[in-house]
C-alpha cells in the first residue's frame, strides 16, 4: 500500500517541502553526540544504590566502608540535599513539588518504590563504583506496600505519605489517604441529559503503566569547579528546566550552572524531569572532579517515570439518531510514589473531541509504591480517550450507525465550548473524520478473522517561554540558535521558516541548540510546542533581521526607514520618493554592517501564545488468530490536523511513531509486578515494544486547518498521534471477534481466554 505523499505547497519556497535535515549526516555517521558520548578529562563514574524494597523506612545508612574503598572519591545520600518546602509548580504538562523532587532523586525518610535511590557513589571506574555500592549498609524497616490503584484507594491500604490528605473534597478529610486529589469538570446537567437518552452504556476499563521507552537511557556528565561554577552535559527535553531544578535542589545560584543539552535519544515526556543530574553535581562538588552517570536499561524501567496505569469508568447516553445527550467519566490514575498523575489533562480531554451539552468528569490522583510517573506523549489523554472512544464505538454499533457518522454528528468545531472551559478556535475534528470517510482504507473489504476500527483523539498543545537568536554573519550567512532540544527534526523546521522569511537558501543557515548561557530562558521541548514556539520566535527574529537590514540600507541611501523594503532576499528602495538605488543582497548588507551600526542580529524572547489543539482520526485493521489470540495490526491509517506541516516528512514521522507506541500500549506493553512489589519485566526482552516485524506500513494523511495564531499556521503534532490507537485497535478487535476488550494490553492469553468464553456462550464471531 502506498503512503500518501503530501505535495509541497506552492505557496512557499521552503515551508511545506522536504529538504534533508541539517543534522542528518551527523546522525548517520555516528558523529552526533548523545548523553553518554561525552568524556571530560579526569572524569569519574557515578552509580546509584537503589532500594530493593517497594516500601521501607530508612533507619540508618552507613557509607563509611564505601568511602574507604580505594578509588572512591565521593558518596552522597539524602543528607547532602536540603529539604524543600511543599509547593506545586508547573513543569511541562505536569505539576511538580520540590518537596517530592528532592525525595525522588534521593530517598529521605522512606523508600517508596523498588529502585528508589538511597545513595550514590563516584569512583575512578565503574567496577570500583559498583563494588562501593555493595559496601553501603542501609538499615531498612520493610513496610507493607500497595501497587494497584483501586487497592491504594481503599480504607486500610498501606499509606505512602502520612501527611497526605485528599485535596478537592469537602469537608476536608481528617485521615491520611493515598488519594492526593479529587477533581471535577462539569458542563450542563448529566442527570437531565441521561433522561433524554434512548441508549445508555456504562463500561469500566483498566490500563497498565507503560514506559516511554526511549532507546537512550538517562545520562549526564557534571563538573563543578573550585569556585562553584558548574557545567552539566545531559540528555534532556529541557536544559533550562534541568538548570532550575538543580539550582533549587543544591541551593546554588541559577547563573552558576550552565547546562548543555546533548543530542537526545528520545524522550516522549520522560526526559522532562531530573534523576541523575543533581546527584552528579553533588558528587562532582564533593570529589572536585567531573562525574559521568548513565542509567542501565533496568534502572530506566525501575526508577524513571512510566505513565499511569488507570481504572476508568465511562457512561454515555445517546438518542436514536446518534446525538450524545450525556457523558460521564470517572478516572482513577496512579501517580506512582508522589502525587501528580496526569489525571487532570486526562479529565480535560476525555470528551474534548465532541460538542456536548452535558458532561461530568471526575478524576482521582492516587499514589502507589511504583516509580513516580512522568509525562508520556499526551499525558493522561490516551487513557481517558481509549475508554470514551471504545464506548462511542459500542453505541454506534448498538444504534446501527456508522461510527464515523456518529462522531460527525457530535464533533467539536470552531465555537464549541469544551467541558473543561474554553471555546475552540478553528479545529480539524470534522475535517479528519471527512478524510477518514473518503479514504480508500475505510471501504476496502476485510478478509476472514479481520476487523476494522476507528477512533478519534485530541490533544491541547502548548506554547510558552521561548528565546531564539539569529545572527547575520559577516559573509551574509546566518547562525540560528534555539533553546528547545531537537528530538525529531526541529532544526530542519526552524531553518525552513527562517529561510522562508529571509528568502535565503537553507544551506546558508546553520542552526544549533544553544546552551543555557547562550540564550535567555526556554521552556522545554514538550507539549508539542517546539516547532510552534521556537518557530514563532524564529520568524520574529528573522523579521528583526530584515527590519535591521532595511534600516542599514536606509542609512546608506539616506532614506527614511519606511522607504526601504525587504523582498526576495534583498533590500530595495520602495515607494515613490525612494530614488533609484540598486537592491542590496543580505550578503552586501552583512558586508557593511560594521560601518552602518555594528553586528546585525534578531533576538526574539517571547511567551508563545495561541497554541491550538490538534485532532486526529485513525483507522485500524487487525487480524486475530482464533487459535492463539494473537492480534496483528495489518493496516493502519492516521489522519491528523497539523495546522500546517512545515516539513511533512517529520510530521508523518510523528504520526507513525505515535501510532506504533499506541499499538504497543494496546497489545504488548505493561509493567508487571510480583506480590513482593517488585517489577518483573525491567528489560526490553520482557517489556516488549513493537519491533519492525510487528507492524505494517503506517499510512498518513496530513489535514491542514491552519492555526490563525501562528505565522505559518502551525499546530503541535507530536502528541495527538498516540491518543486514538488503543481504541482504534480495540474497536477493530471487537469488529473481528464480536468481543469487546476493556483491559489493556490485549495480549494473546487475555484475548484467547475471552474468545473461549465468548465461544462457549455463542457470542464470538471467530
Amino acid at each position: 500500500m502506498q503512503e500518501k505523499v503530501k505535495e509541497p505547497s506552492s505557496e512557499f519556497e521552503y515551508v511545506g517541502h522536504r529538504p534533508d535535515r541539517p543534522d542528518g549526516v551527523d546522525k548517520v555517521t555516528g558523529r552526533a553526540k548523545f548523553g553518554a558520548d561525552l568524556t571530560m578529562s579526569g572524569q569519574l563514574v557515578g552509580k546509584v544504590l537503589r532500594s530493593p524494597h517497594a516500601h521501607a523506612r530508612i533507619r540508618a545508612i552507613d557509607t563509611a566502608a564505601a568511602e574507604k574503598l580505594a578509588g572512591v572519591k565521593a558518596v552522597v545520600t539524602a543528607a547532602d540535599f536540603k529539604d524543600q518546602p511543599s509547593e506545586f509548580i508547573p513543569a511541562g504538562e505536569m505539576m511538580i513539588n520540590y518537596r517530592d523532587v528532592v525525595r525522588n532523586v534521593m530517598a529521605r525518610e522512606k523508600t517508596l518504590y523498588e529502585g528508589h535511590p538511597v545513595a550514590a557513589v563516584a569512583a575512578t571506574n565503574a567496577l570500583i563504583a559498583k563494588q562501593a555500592l555493595k559496601l553501603i549498609k542501609v538499615d531498612y524497616e520493610v513496610l507493607p506496600h500497595v501497587i494497584d490503584v483501586v487497592e491504594a484507594m481503599k480504607p486500610g491500604a498501606p499509606i505512602l505519605h502520612e501527611d497526605m490528605y485528599t485535596a478537592g473534597v469537602d469537608p476536608a478529610p481528617k485521615t491520611a489517604s493515598n488519594i492526593a486529589k479529587r477533581l471535577e469538570f462539569v458542563l450542563g446537567d448529566v442527570t437531565a441529559g441521561f433522561k433524554q437518552a434512548d441508549v445508555v452504556l456504562e463500561r469500566a476499563f483498566t490500563t497498565k503503566p507503560v514506559h516511554q521507552g526511549y532507546i537512550e537511557p538517562h545520562a549526564c556528565v557534571a563538573s563543578v569547579s573550585e569556585d562553584g561554577q558548574a557545567d552539566v552535559w545531559v540528555t534532556t527535553q529541557g536544559h533550562w528546566i534541568v538548570r532550575a531544578h538543580c539550582a533549587r535542589l543544591l541551593g546554588w545560584d541559577v547563573s552558576k550552572i550552565r547546562v548543555t543539552s546533548s543530542e537526545i535519544g528520545g524522550g516522549f515526556g520522560g526526559k522532562t524531569v531530573v534523576y541523575l543530574e543533581p546527584l552528579a553535581l553533588a558528587l562532582a562538588r564533593k570529589a572536585r572532579r567531573p562525574v559521568k552517570m548513565v542509567m542501565t536499561r533496568e534502572e530506566v524501567f525501575r526508577a524513571s517515570g512510566p505513565t499511569s496505569g488507570a481504572h476508568v469508568r465511562v457512561k454515555i447516553g445517546a438518542r436514536k439518531d446518534g446525538r450524545i445527550v450525556a457523558a460521564e467519566a470517572e478516572l482513577k490514575y496512579q501517580a506512582g510514589a508522589f502525587a501528580g498523575s496526569p489525571v487532570q489533562p486526562g479529565a480535560m480531554c476525555a470528551y474534548a473531541p465532541y460538542d456536548l451539552e452535558n458532561v461530568k468528569v471526575v478524576g482521582y490522583d492516587v499514589v502507589t509504591n511504583r516509580p513516580k510517573v512522568a509525562a508520556y506523549r499526551a499525558p493522561g489523554g490516551p487513557i481517558s480517550e481509549f475508554a470514551v472512544e471504545s464506548v462511542i464505538d459500542e453505541i454506534a454499533s448498538k444504534l446501527g450507525i456508522d461510527p464515523i457518522e456518529l462522531r460527525l454528528k457530535n464533533a467539536a468545531k470552531q465555537g464549541t465550548r469544551a467541558a473543561y472551559g474554553p471555546k475552540f478556535g478553528p479545529i480539524g475534528m470534522v475535517e479528519t473524520l471527512e478524510a477518514a470517510k473518503t479514504h480508500a482504507h475505510w471501504r476496502t473489504p476485510l478478509k476472514p478473522n479481520q476487523g476494522r476500527g476507528v477512533a478519534s483523539g485530541f490533544w491541547f498543545n502548548i506554547g510558552g517561554e521561548t528565546s531564539v537568536s539569529l545572527s547575520l554573519n559577516e559573509d551574509g550567512t546566518l547562525s540560528l540558535t534555539a533553546g528547545t532540544p531537537d528530538i525529531g527534526g526541529l532544526r530542519a523546521s526552524l531553518c525552513m521558516m527562517a529561510a522562508e522569511e529571509l528568502k535565503v537558501p537553507l544551506d546558508k543557515i546553520r542552526v544549533q541548540i544553544g546552551d543555557t548561557g547562550q540564550l535567555s530562558y526556554n521552556f522545554l521541548t514538550g507539549g508539542s510546542r517546539a516547532t510552534f514556539s521556537s518557530g514563532m520566535a524564529t520568524v520574529e527574529a528573522a523579521r528583526e533581521v530584515k527590519k535591521e537590514a532595511c534600516k542599514r540600507a536606509a542609512k546608506l541611501w539616506e532614506l527614511p526607514e519606511d522607504a526601504v523594503e525587504y523582498t526576495d532576499g534583498a533590500v530595495r528602495p520602495a515607494g515613490p520618493n525612494a530614488g533609484k538605488h540598486s537592491p542590496m543582497s543580505l550578503k552586501e548588507i552583512a558586508g557593511i554592517a560594521g560601518k552602518t551600526g555594528g553586528p546585525i542580529a534578531g533576538y526574539a524572547r517571547i511567551n508563545a501564545a495561541g497554541a491550538a489543539p490538534s485532532l486526529a482520526t485513525h483507522i485500524c485493521d487487525v487480524e486475530v488468530d482464533p487459535d492463539t489470540g494473537k492480534v496483528s495490526v495489518v493496516r493502519y491509517t492516521a489522519i491528523q490536523d497539523a495546522g500546517r506541516a512545515i516539513h511533512p516528512s517529520y510530521v508523518e514521522g510523528q504520526y507513525q511513531g505515535g501510532v506504533a507506541q499506541g499499538i504497543g500500549w494496546a497489545l504488548n506493553e505493561e509493567y508487571i509486578y510480583g506480590d513482593d512489589g517488585k517489577l518483573q519485566n525491567p528489560g526490553f526482552l520482557d517489556y516488549r515494544v513493537p519491533v519492525a516485524s510487528d507492524l505494517p506500513m503506517i499510512d498518513t494523511v496530513i489535514v491542514e486547518v491552519p492555526n490563525p495564531r501562528h505565522p505559518y499556521g502551525v499546530r503541535g503534532v507530536g502528541e495527538t498521534p498516540i491518543v486514538p490507537p488503543m481504541a482504534a485497535v480495540a474497536n477493530a478487535v471487537a469488529n473481528a471477534t464480536g468481543v469487546r476488550f476493556s483491559e489493556l494490553p490485549m495480549s494473546p492469553p487475555k484475548v484467547l481466554k475471552a474468545l473461549d468464553e465468548a465461544r462457549a456462550n455463542g457470542a464470538a464471531k471467530i
Binding site: 503512503e3 522536504r18 534533508d20 535535515r21 543534522d23 542528518g24 549526516v25 546522525k27 548517520v28 555517521t29 555516528g30 558523529r31 552526533a32 553526540k33 548523545f34 553518554a36 558520548d37 568524556t39 567496577l127 516511554q212 521507552g213 526511549y214 532507546i215 537512550e216 537511557p217 543530542e263 537526545i264 535519544g265 528520545g266 524522550g267 516522549f268 548513565v294 542501565t296 536499561r297 528530538i487 525529531g488 527534526g489 516539513h647 516528512s649 517529520y650 508523518e652 514521522g653 507513525q656 511513531g657 505515535g658 501510532v659 506504533a660 507506541q661 528489560g683 526490553f684 526482552l685 515494544v689 513493537p690 519491533v691 519492525a692 516485524s693 510487528d694 507492524l695 506500513m697 503506517i698
Partner: protein, 158 residues
C-alpha cells in the same frame, strides 16, 4: 588484576587496547577507542543500538567481550561512509526521514548493510524480520523500511 592486551582491526585500521576481562566489546569501542557512534540502549542484546560486524557477521557488541575481539575485524558506523561519499543506506535514511532522534540509527544502518550484503533484493517482510532486533521508538519503522528498500534498489542499479 592485569588488563588484557587486544589487537584488532577496526574499520580497516589496526588498533590496540587494554581491557578488563569483563569489559564488553561495546565498552572497549566507546571508552578505549572513542568510537561513540555505537550506542548502548540496553546491554542485554535486546535493542540492537550497539550493532557492529565482527568478521562480517552482525553482532550486538554488548554481548561480546572486548578480549574476544583479539585478531578480529570489526566494522562500526564510523567506517560506513567512504571519504565524502555516504553509503547509499546513509543517504536514503536522510532522504526518507528514516530517523527522528537518531540514537538507533547507527545500529539500524549497520544491520541493514549486513542484510543487503546477504540479500540484495529483500522483500518488505525480509527487511522487517532482519531488522526485528533493532528497536526504534520514534518512527514506527515505516520510513526505515522504505529507506532500506530504496537503498537496496539503488545498489542493485534497479
Amino acid at each position: 588484576m592485569a588488563k588484557h592486551h587486544v589487537t584488532a582491526t577496526v574499520n580497516g585500521d589496526t588498533v590496540e587496547f587494554l581491557c578488563d576481562a569483563q569489559e564488553t566489546l561495546l565498552d572497549c569501542l566507546r571508552d578505549q577507542l572513542g568510537l561513540t557512534g555505537t550506542k548502548e540502549g540496553c546491554s542485554t542484546g535486546d535493542c540492537g543500538a550497539c550493532s557492529v560486524t565482527v568478521d562480517g557477521r552482525l553482532v550486538c557488541s554488548c554481548l561480546m567481550l572486548g578480549v574476544e575481539a583479539n585478531g578480529k575485524s570489526i566494522g562500526t558506523i564510523e567506517g560506513m561512509a567512504r571519504g565524502n561519499e555516504l553509503h547509499p543506506l546513509q543517504r536514503k535514511f536522510i532522504e526518507h526521514a528514516a530517523l527522528q532522534c537518531g540514537i538507533c540509527t547507527p545500529g539500524f544502518l549497520v544491520a541493514a548493510k549486513s542484510l543487503l550484503e546477504r540479500q540484495p533484493n529483500p522483500t518488505e517482510t525480509e527487511v522487517r524480520y532482519w531488522l526485528a532486533g533493532n528497536l526504534c521508538r520514534c518512527t514506527g519503522y515505516d520510513k526505515i523500511v522504505r529507506a532500506v528498500l530504496d537503498a537496496a534498489a539503488e545498489i542493485r542499479g534497479a
